[in-house]
């Protein structure tokens, strides 16, 4: 039985090993992903980001519990969780501590939690997170929660990967306006003010709502997550004029307060995406971007293997000596010197 087949048959050890292969970018990992790729595309990918100390892990824990023990009439769903923490730029090591907040999920075979270090990636997600998500998707996890620290440009990465992005804030973490980065409003589908039992929650909520009101509704519906719609207009939004209004919710994750509302909004966002054609556009943008990145990297390595280091360095030297402009250098490298 291949590794991919073992994963599809529900073998959790095989899944764990596959995730390691994917993370280490081995040929075995790539081959298994190749086999599994046709089985991906069913899971709802939910990104959870926010500054450290906002309670993201506790929120993820509670959401997972909700999906596993939903209100009557709703089916329980299998939940995958990927928690990404930064690697130390000095040692390359990492402390991955998000499981500490997820003890309630222990012993539940319908939950799979995997911790990842960012391994040098600056965007908050690891380079290989998207592949790991595909493995969990193919393995049958229906909701995949991807948790990452919202530092630097992390928001861009998570918005590109997830269908629905939750941004978690908490009161009292500093000056309310400063604490709310502009990027967050671009990417947040749902804003959650966690630790809502703390003083200052009204200020935080008000500041968020005020900043949301400044965002132009038409712009938001066309430029979902800052990604331009594709030139192919064969997937017109059925209700393009009805933009998604980002809700601002309150929660106290450690006490389970506000969780069902968050889950409802996540479900409502999924329905919105499906009805507006946004789900398909999301998939196109996401997979298109992934394909582009792979293409670029493959093209550059193929080209590099077609030229000798000496020839390349000679051209670089000419640029350094100002005898050649960089643009002319590229033409010479790619097309040969036609002088």
């Amino acid at each position: 039985m291949s590794l991919a087949d073992s994963v599809l048959s529900g073998n959790r050890l095989a899944l764990a090993r596959l995730l390691t292969q994917i993370e280490n970018e081995t040929p075995e990992g790539r081959a298994a992903l190749e086999e599994l790729f046709p089985k991906t595309g069913r899971a709802h990918l939910v990104g959870v980001t926010g500054a450290p100390g906002t309670g993201k892990s506790s929120l993820v824990n509670q959401l997972a519990r909700h999906y596993r023990n939903p209100p009557s009439g709703v089916e329980a769903r299998r939940v995958g969780i990927i928690a990404v923490d930064p690697s130390s730029p000095f040692s390359g090591g990492a402390i991955l501590g998000d499981r500490v907040r997820m003890r309630d999920l222990a012993g539940d075979a319908g939950v799979f939690i995997r911790s990842m270090a960012s391994r040098g990636s600056l965007g908050g997600l690891a380079h290989t997170t998207s592949g790991m998500v595909q493995a969990l998707d193919a393995a049958g996890y229906e909701v995949i929660l991807i948790e990452t620290v919202g530092a630097g440009q992390a928001e861009v990465d998570i918005a590109r990967l997830a269908h629905t992005t939750l941004v978690v804030e908490a009161p009292g973490l500093g000056d309310e306006i400063q604490a709310i980065k502009a990027g967050i409003l671009e990417i947040a589908d749902i804003l959650v003010v966690n630790k809502a039992d703390r003083p200052g929650v009204e200020n935080t909520e008000r500041a968020l709502r005020n900043m949301l009101q400044l965002a132009h509704p038409v712009q938001r519906s066309s430029f979902h997550h800052g990604i331009l719609p594709t030139a192919d207009e064969s997937f017109p939004a059925k209700s393009e004029s009805i933009a998604w209004q980002t809700p601002v919710l309150r929660s106290v994750a450690t006490e389970g307060i506000g969780i069902s509302q968050v889950a409802e909004e996540i479900a409502r966002h999924r329905r919105f995406l499906e009805e507006s054609g946004g789900w398909t556009r999301r998939e196109q943008a996401r997979l298109g971007a992934e394909l582009d990145a792979l293409l670029q990297s493959a093209l550059v390595s193929r080209w590099k293997s077609s030229i000798t280091q000496d020839k390349y360095q000679a051209v670089v030297q000419q640029v350094v000596e100002r005898r050649l402009s960089p643009w002319r250098a590229v033409t010479i490298l790619l097309d040969g010197d036609r002088r």
Partner: protein
């Protein structure tokens, strides 16, 4: 292909709440370039084995100051075996009487670290016992 990182699960099984040692070790392992999945206090052997499986770790480090090591360690080792994860190297630190050490090593524990152990010792032991597997594992 990226550098193969050593992944270590650090856990405190049982009921004792003194986690300073575990945190010191976790930080030292991070500074040595390892990825440490820190699971915190009051872990049951079942939780430890489940985490070791999902995280596909190379090493499990247990911190036990409660004296319950002779009950907890066999159970953890048994569960790792049941999950087909016998290759995982298990280390234990904390308060372990000298007379229990031979029995623990016989059971399959790879290292026992009492108070005063230098973190460098733990790091080099891990690198030595896991390092050799880096290319052949998986």
């Amino acid at each position: 292909m990226s550098d193969r990182k050593i992944r270590v699960l650090v856990a405190k099984p049982g009921l004792d709440g003194h986690d300073r040692g575990a945190k010191v070790v976790a930080r030292a392992l991070r500074d040595a370039g390892m990825e440490v999945i820190y699971t915190g206090l009051r872990q049951t052997p079942e939780m430890i084995a489940e985490a070791a499986l999902q995280e596909d770790v190379d090493v499990v480090g247990l911190s036990i100051l409660s004296g319950a090591h002779m009950a907890l360690l066999p159970r953890v080792l048994e569960l790792l075996k049941m999950n087909q994860q016998e290759h995982i190297k298990v280390f234990v630190g904390g308060i372990i009487p000298d007379e229990d050490v031979p029995r623990l090593l016989e059971m399959g524990v790879v290292g026992v670290y009492g108070p005063g152990t230098l973190t460098d010792q733990i790091i080099s032991d891990i690198q030595r016992t896991v390092g050799g597997n880096a290319d052949s594992e998986n």
